[in-house]
């Protein structure tokens, strides 16, 4: 009876998951095989035309799927490069200093996305603060196009992704016993060598968790490319949005969604395999 009572704890979540995730997902998969008549309304069918339209088109593959993967890899990598030192630094602080730094790092999550994006637009647009400042300082003469361009999409995705990277890394760093590094120094490792041989491998679980979250968010990003993107930043989430809500082509949007989920799952599986092989299998409790 104990097991049954325990299972009851899962019931509300299982119900919500079924209603809001599993059923819609099944509906999406089914819809992806439907047919759209004259780009106007959908009829029930079982056709692969939506898939072949996307996968058979070099333009879609390169400019949407591969482009989204590239942007996700680039933004995730920049987030890690910027976030890792921040996490290391915060791990060494405490008290007020730590609270201030944590608030700064978490601020993108505390401000609504729309407010945040419009704030950045004020700074980065043609005649915005950054361009005015750079021109005043004679760093460059002509305003640089940051917003409504790939640069803006990358800047914002990095900014929004950073907190997840920092938080998950911080957790890993703080789990590392300080004597591990001391032991490495004691047997002759420099500070730098001790970091790469001991600290860095031991933060892989946190890095992996951060990568999974940020890569998935950025790969499927839709709001940021919508607000600050341009005609050449056709990220897959944005295309799905356009097909579903503007072109009213639900079957095509559904097939894109299925492709997006499949691509993401494949990449995450690959990452899981890679990290597992590299280090996680050694660290995981396996008795």
């Amino acid at each position: 009876m104990k097991a049954r009572n325990a299972a009851l704890l899962l019931a509300p979540a299982a119900l919500a998951l079924t209603i809001f995730v599993i059923l819609p997902l099944m509906w999406v998969v089914r819809t992806s095989f439907n047919h759209t008549v004259d780009g106007a309304y959908m009829v029930s069918a079982f056709t692969f035309e939506n898939y072949t339209r996307f996968l058979g088109s070099g333009w879609y593959l390169v400019n949407t799927l591969w482009f989204s993967i590239r942007v996700a890899i680039l933004t995730t990598a920049i987030s890690v490069l910027l976030g890792y030192p921040v996490a290391l630094y915060i791990a060494g602080t405490r008290g007020v200093q730590r609270n201030v730094l944590m608030t700064m790092v978490l601020s993108p999550l505390l401000i609504g996305l729309v407010t945040l994006v419009y704030g950045w637009i004020v700074i980065f647009r043609g005649g915005g603060l950054l361009n005015s400042l750079m021109i005043a300082l004679r760093v460059y003469d002509e305003p640089v196009r940051y917003m409504w361009d790939l640069k803006g999409v990358v800047i914002l995705l990095v900014y929004i992704g950073m907190p997840y990277i920092v938080l998950s890394l911080l957790d890993s760093i703080e789990r590392i016993n300080p004597s591990f590094v001391e032991a490495a120094r004691n047997v002759g490792a420099s500070r730098w060598r001790a970091f790469w041989s001991i600290t860095f491998p031991l933060t892989m679980p946190g890095l992996y968790a951060g990568l999974v979250i940020v890569f998935t968010l950025n790969f499927s990003a839709f709001a940021v490319p919508l607000m600050v993107g341009a005609t050449d930043t056709q990220m897959i989430g944005l295309v799905i949005y356009r097909e579903a809500l503007l072109n009213n082509d639900l079957p095509f949007a559904s097939s894109l969604s299925v492709i997006m989920i499949a691509a993401n799952a494949t990449i995450l599986l690959g990452m899981s395999f890679l990290f597992g092989k590299l280090i996680l299998n050694r660290l995981e409790a396996k008795r």
Partner: protein, 366 residues
């Protein structure tokens, strides 16, 4: 490599301050080549901080540390060439046993065959052959401790620093490891500085014991001297159990002094008395130095006492007895046959030489 002083470690006037808090204050001591020295004291006494300053994990605020004559006070830990065994072993969890032991050798760019042999040899010395491929979490506490030791020994350090290496093991294993460690240290003639809060460990393993309290050194002596002649109330109380009597020296005779304790108690105390008549002294007495008798006999100190409490420890019995003046006293006896019962009156016989006298500073010498 031995320098002319013959000292493996010289600690000279070393201090460690954290803001206004002084963790270690003007500590000086030496460790000779091949010697096993313990830093003994209660937690927070500065013993671990002192050890960590010698290893270079903590920078001294003041003073000098020399290893084999070389001033290492400001050297980073990786330049000091000392072995260190941590209380929590600090084995790198993502490396196998062999990788843990080999890491320092790889940093020294030794060739593969040399490293393999050295790892094998170190693990054999610590009784861990066959465990090369295991990960630390697949080992018991005792095995992890051996890996930590093997990792330190693989580099053939001239000096081994150990920070309470046995304190996380259960008692039986701790006692066994203590003997093994000591034998190994003797076989390798390894200069060792050993931090512990366990007096039994310090007394049984060390050539000399450095006792610390409140960031300062209280006593440096051989284990026997520490126990038999504590010379201070702190040492007497921290190492073993001690009975204290506060008294006044009333008379000094031929090798024997008379100390009056309170109104009713007079003790005949043996040699090595530097106190003048009338001075206030504290008399120390180890519980096992008291003989407990059923009947009165002849003796220098023959005291009647009432048994208040009895604790059975197996090999010994500990009596808590009260003297007529109300002074409570611990007495430890091996003879458990015909032992006294609670409430009975017994006789205590104490040889004058078994008392130790220390000054009572600031006490009125009325």
């Amino acid at each position: 490599m031995n320098d002319s002083t013959g000292k493996a470690i010289q600690v000279e006037g070393v201090c460690k301050r954290y803001g206004h808090v002084s963790a270690v204050n003007d500590v000086s001591f030496d460790v000779r080549h091949g010697e096993f020295v313990s830093l003994l004291g209660p937690s927070g006494c500065g013993k671990t901080t002192t050890l960590r300053m010698i290893a270079g994990f903590v920078m001294a605020s003041d003073g000098h540390i020399r290893i084999n004559g070389r001033d290492v006070t400001y050297l980073p830990p990786e330049k000091r060439e000392v072995g260190f065994v941590f209380q929590n072993y600090a084995l790198w969890p993502h490396m196998t046993v062999a990788e843990n032991v080999a890491f320092g050798l790889k940093l020294r760019k030794r060739d593969k065959a040399f490293i393999r042999n050295k790892v094998e040899e170190s693990l054999a010395v610590t009784g861990l052959s066959g465990f090369e491929g295991r990960l630390p979490r697949q080992l018991s506490g005792g095995q992890q401790q051996r890996v930590a030791l093997a990792r330190a020994l693989a580099l053939e350090p001239q000096l081994l620093l150990m920070d309470e290496p046995l304190s996380n093991l259960d008692r039986a294993l701790r006692v066994a490891m203590r003997r093994e460690l000591k034998k190994l240290q003797q076989r390798l003639n390894m200069t060792t500085l050993y931090v512990t809060h366990d007096q039994e460990e310090a007394l049984s393993m060390s050539d000399r014991v450095v006792i610390m309290s409140g960031g300062e050194i209280v006593r440096v002596a051989r284990p026997l001297e520490v126990y038999e002649d504590p010379q201070s109330e702190f040492v007497a109380d921290f190492v073993g159990t001690t009975n204290f009597f506060d008294g006044i020296v009333s008379d000094i005779g031929e090798g024997v002094a008379t100390v009056k304790v309170g109104e009713t108690l007079t003790l005949r105390v043996g040699n090595r008395i530097s106190a003048a008549p009338g001075s206030a002294v504290r008399v120390l007495l180890r519980p096992e130095r008291v003989r407990i008798l059923a009947e009165r006999r002849e003796g220098a100190n023959m005291l009647a006492a009432r048994v208040d409490f009895i604790e059975y420890y197996g090999p010994t019995l500990r009596y808590t007895v009260a003297l007529p003046g109300g002074e409570a006293l611990f007495v430890e006896a091996h003879d458990i046959h015909g032992s006294a019962q609670i409430g009975e009156t017994v006789w205590l016989s104490i040889e004058p030489d078994h008392f130790r006298l220390i000054d009572r500073k600031g006490a009125p010498a009325s």
